[in-house]
């Protein structure tokens, strides 16, 4: 079929006189030029410089977090592992066979995975109804509840361990249950700590979930339960799986809780690494266990990365209120579950606070007054109040570092490169940056000690050692909170700003920064609270003269004596209060309406 090519048609449209639109005979005068502009567009040398500078800037921006990660995470970890596995005769791979030849070590790995999986399962079971109630429904006081639910997550693990131990101790309020020293208490503490991860992560997706597919399913004859299972759960799937993986990671590497509640009966990889390095000085075994843990964590992280990318692809910042509904009869099961969780969560906190007010001479503030002393028998070098100041200072520096490095990283990771190779590199960086989340804080802390103690990097005496370690632990949280917001922002907003004459940096300050401001505030608060309660790494690095509050608490409860325990409880209450205040303040600042937007992980 021979068809004429229309482009070759000999019609020159410009020469045609037809003008179908009648222009006004006397047009309104063209407004005067707003500013003097050069008559034509001329390429300037600055344009070239800008294009180059932009690339260089992005590379530098990517270099900051990567160098930080390499220097303050990879290097110490590798140094520790190397110290254990590298002998005069070269690499000592026989260590693996030796360590896993012992049945105790094999069951250690199995137990670590098993308890983390059970904890994650329990968290999902209890957390999904909570996500529905606090994010999908709409009722008065919801914002406050959302903030309160988050508090346990930022509570220091040693505080939580202490609270649960007090609650279930043989002479405690629930001593008659006989749970003291049982695995049930460990699992309960893990659920307590990580409930918010499920609620916030699943809730953030649920809040913006399009309701219409579910309505379509109903119109096609599916009942409420069937609709939930066949439409809602698959849509929430990536978020649920992502939350479960996060909880699994946190529990698999949990340290403070295990140390206080597990005692010598329950050991995980993390506590065993600690024991091998500090008590037995068997670095060979510790290195093998560290590598095992890193392999385990990396596997879970790669899986999470895949799931997360699917979840982020669906996340939309628009229509956040579209699906919310008033509390109705169908919310009753969720309401009951969540109310029960609330009561169960309040109990250990309440007991801790009450016990802190109990002194050998009756009720009173004696334990709090003791915070300014050196403890019974002058147990400590400095009073607890000094430790609190140390903690606050270190946490503030750590939060600032984590936010600075995290934002630099997010700006780079949020880019959608046209080049597929660059895209793959960014994806890999994204996953690697999550490693500090799961790699043993003990490994990091001990690695710091043996790696950063000689030139060119001698930080032993530096007051920055503790904040840097804490910042590395908090960094993944900052990235997880800020990155999705930047990724979900409509790229056309930036394009609109550019067509209106804003150069790249101005686009960033005018569009990206305001859009992520809330997430950034939330991330800073999280980083601060997590640093405040960080114990695993800090326990290695804090010098005796400048301990942090969690270190002091553990020191106090490791010594017998009712007075020391009382002081520890008072200190834990103060620490819990500080963490809770930060979270509530940020959620309140963010505003009730927008609280849903900060905090999925």
């Amino acid at each position: 079929m021979a068809v004429a090519d229309p482009i070759e048609r000999p019609a020159d449209p410009i020469e045609r006189p037809a003008d179908p639109i009648e222009r006004p005979a006397d047009p309104i005068e063209r407004p005067a030029e707003l500013i003097e502009r050069p008559a034509g567009l001329i390429e300037r040398p600055a344009d070239r410089a800008l294009a180059v500078g932009r690339r260089v800037g992005l590379v530098l921006l990517a270099a900051v977090p990567l160098v930080a990660l390499g220097l303050f995470f990879c290097y110490p970890v590798v140094a520790l592992i190397g110290r254990g596995l590298w002998s005069d005769s070269g690499l000592d791979l026989g260590a693996f066979a030796d360590v896993f030849g012992r049945s105790r070590m094999r069951s250690l790995v199995v137990f670590t995975i098993w308890q983390a999986a059970v904890s994650a399962g329990l968290c999902l079971l209890l957390g999904i109804p909570g996500a529905y109630l606090l994010y999908r429904c709409r009722f008065r006081g919801q914002a406050v509840l959302r903030a309160l639910v988050t508090v346990p997550f930022v509570l220091p693990t040693v505080v939580v361990g202490l609270a649960f131990r007090t609650l279930f101790a043989a002479d405690g309020p629930l001593g008659s249950w006989g749970w003291d020293g049982s695995l049930a208490v460990v699992l309960a503490a893990h659920v307590f700590l990580n409930y918010a991860v499920v609620v916030r992560t699943v809730g953030a997706t649920w809040a913006v979930l399009d309701e219409r597919p579910a309505q379509a399913a109903r119109s096609l004859g599916a009942g409420g339960v069937r609709t939930f299972l066949t439409v809602t759960v698959p849509a929430l799937g990536p978020a649920i799986a992502g939350a479960a993986a996060m909880v699994f990671l946190f529990c698999a590497t949990s340290f403070g809780v295990m140390l206080i509640l597990g005692g010598s009966k329950f050991r995980t990889l993390e506590t065993e690494i600690y024991r091998q390095t500090t008590d037995i000085f068997d670095l060979r075994t510790a290195a093998v266990l560290s590598i095992t843990q890193i392999v385990l964590v990396t596997g879970v992280l790669v899986l999470t990365g895949l799931l997360r990318r699917r979840a982020e692809a669906r996340l939309s910042l628009t229509g956040a209120r579209a699906g919310s509904r008033r509390l109705g009869r169908e919310a009753l099961p969720a309401l009951l579950v969540t109310a029960a969780v609330g009561v169960a969560f309040l109990a250990p906190m309440l007991v801790m606070v009450l016990r802190s007010l109990q002194t050998p001479t009756g009720w009173g503030l004696g334990n709090y007054r003791a915070l300014a002393t050196l403890g019974e028998d002058n147990l400590m070098l400095v009073p607890v109040t000094d430790a609190l100041v140390n903690s606050l200072r270190a946490a503030a520096i750590a939060a600032a570092l984590a936010v600075l490095v995290g934002v630099a990283l997010c700006v780079v990771l949020a880019r959608r490169p046209r080049n597929r190779g660059v895209g793959r590199i960014l994806g890999a960086v994204d996953t690697v940056m999550m490693l500090p989340l799961g790699v043993s804080a003990v490994t990091v802390g001990f690695g710091f000690l043996i790696a950063l103690d000689r030139p060119p990097l001698d930080l032993r005496g530096s007051a920055l050692l503790v904040p840097i370690a804490q910042a590395m632990v908090a960094l993944p949280l900052v990235v997880r909170m800020v990155l999705p917001v930047l990724r979900a922002a409509d790229d056309r907003l930036r394009q609109a700003a550019a067509t209106l004459g804003a150069p790249p940096l101005r686009v960033w300050t005018g569009v990206d920064l305001p859009l992520m401001a809330r997430a950034l505030a939330g991330a800073a608060a999280f980083a601060f609270a997590v640093s405040l309660g960080e114990f695993g790494a800090t326990s290695f690095l804090a010098r005796p003269q400048t301990p942090t509050l969690p270190v002091v608490i553990v020191r106090l409860i490791s010594r017998p004596g009712a007075a020391n325990t009382g002081t520890a409880l008072a200190a834990a209450t103060v620490l819990a209060l500080a963490c809770a205040l930060v979270m509530v303040a940020v959620d309140t600042l963010a505003g009730a309406r927008n609280a849903a937007r900060i905090g999925g992980f």
């Binding site: 079929m1 021979a2 068809v3 004429a4 090519d5 229309p6 482009i7 048609r9 019609a11 449209p13 410009i14 045609r16 037809a18 003008d19 179908p20 639109i21 222009r23 006004p24 047009p27 309104i28 063209r30 407004p31 030029e33 707003l34 500013i35 502009r37 008559a39 034509g40 567009l41 001329i42 390429e43 300037r44 344009d47 070239r48 800008l50 294009a51 046209r418 597929r420 409509d490 056309r492 907003l493 394009q495 609109a496 700003a497 550019a498 067509t499 209106l500 004459g501 804003a502 150069p503 790249p504 101005r506 686009v507 005018g510 569009v511 305001p514 859009l515």
Partner: protein, 361 residues
Amino acid sequence: MLSLTDVRVTYVGARGSDPVTAVDGVELDLADGQVLALLGPSGCGKSTLLRAIAGLEPLSGGRICWDDTDLARIPVHRRHFGLMFQDGVLFPHRTVAGNIGYGLRQLGLAPARRRHRVDELLELVGLPGLGGRRVTELSGGQQQRVALARALAPQPRLLLLDEPLAALDTALRSRLLTDLRTVLTRTHSTALYVTHDQGEAFAIADRVALMNEGRIRQVGSPSDVWREPADEWVARFVGYTTVLPVGHGVPGLPDGPIALRPPALVVDPDGRLAGRVLEARPAPDTVRLTVELPGSGAVQAISGTLPAVGATVRLAVDLSATAPLPAGSAKAPDHHAQDDQAPDDQAPQHHASLTSGTVNR
């Protein structure tokens, strides 16, 4: 003035597949003060071309020039080309005035002059006094008015409009279309208006460029395109529903390929043609028929009354609703001849049903 020479834009395809050519060798000129509508079905590459002109898509070939300056190395923010999106894309964290004033701030205008200019534009787009509103409180139509004001505020050299009315309902669309035309005329804007709606394109533009599968099929004034479509695809896209090939043998119609709109054949007892009614549908001011002409297949026609299906009617020819096509540009009639979907709201389907045999590749 804007001139495009052999412009190509290619996307990296899905893993393993070939690159997708979205814009395939486009040549186009746009003189200062003119409004050019880029008209084509969904997915024809018209929005990609617009974004390439704005500087948001890299070219894989060809040149885009403004007054003989190649724009390749000039970054987006220095081109001063205003861009208006289909759904506004207003800055959610700024007020109406903050949105409109954004470009003025980049120009370094003093606050007093900026306020004055913002008020001027609010007046121009018919939203006086709404400067303090949050943009999330505005209706869809108001958001588009603000988007237009925002794009116009810094007096762009060229205004690029990407289906600015497509997200609005019909009544609002026609009202905004009139307003938009008035604004473009009053501000003497040079504008490129992307749309899939031929009604919009013909109403607003000095010239129309029809685009399909990454190529420009015809450029001309609306009346040129209307009177002399370049080929069968263009004819069908602008509303011709029947195309008869060479040797169609219908008495009263000139020989050669010819495109017919429904009013070209009118039921008339004195008509020279006779045919059997296959389908009759009442439309607002007429009855639309599908009539089978012996030897010519099914054609569209109109009638004042509703005939019975299967009845034989006589048809008269109205040549003013026909357009000759260049020889060789039409094909033998087939089932497409029955395709009388209104092109203005059915463009994608229309396009899909046409690609099988009409496109010259």
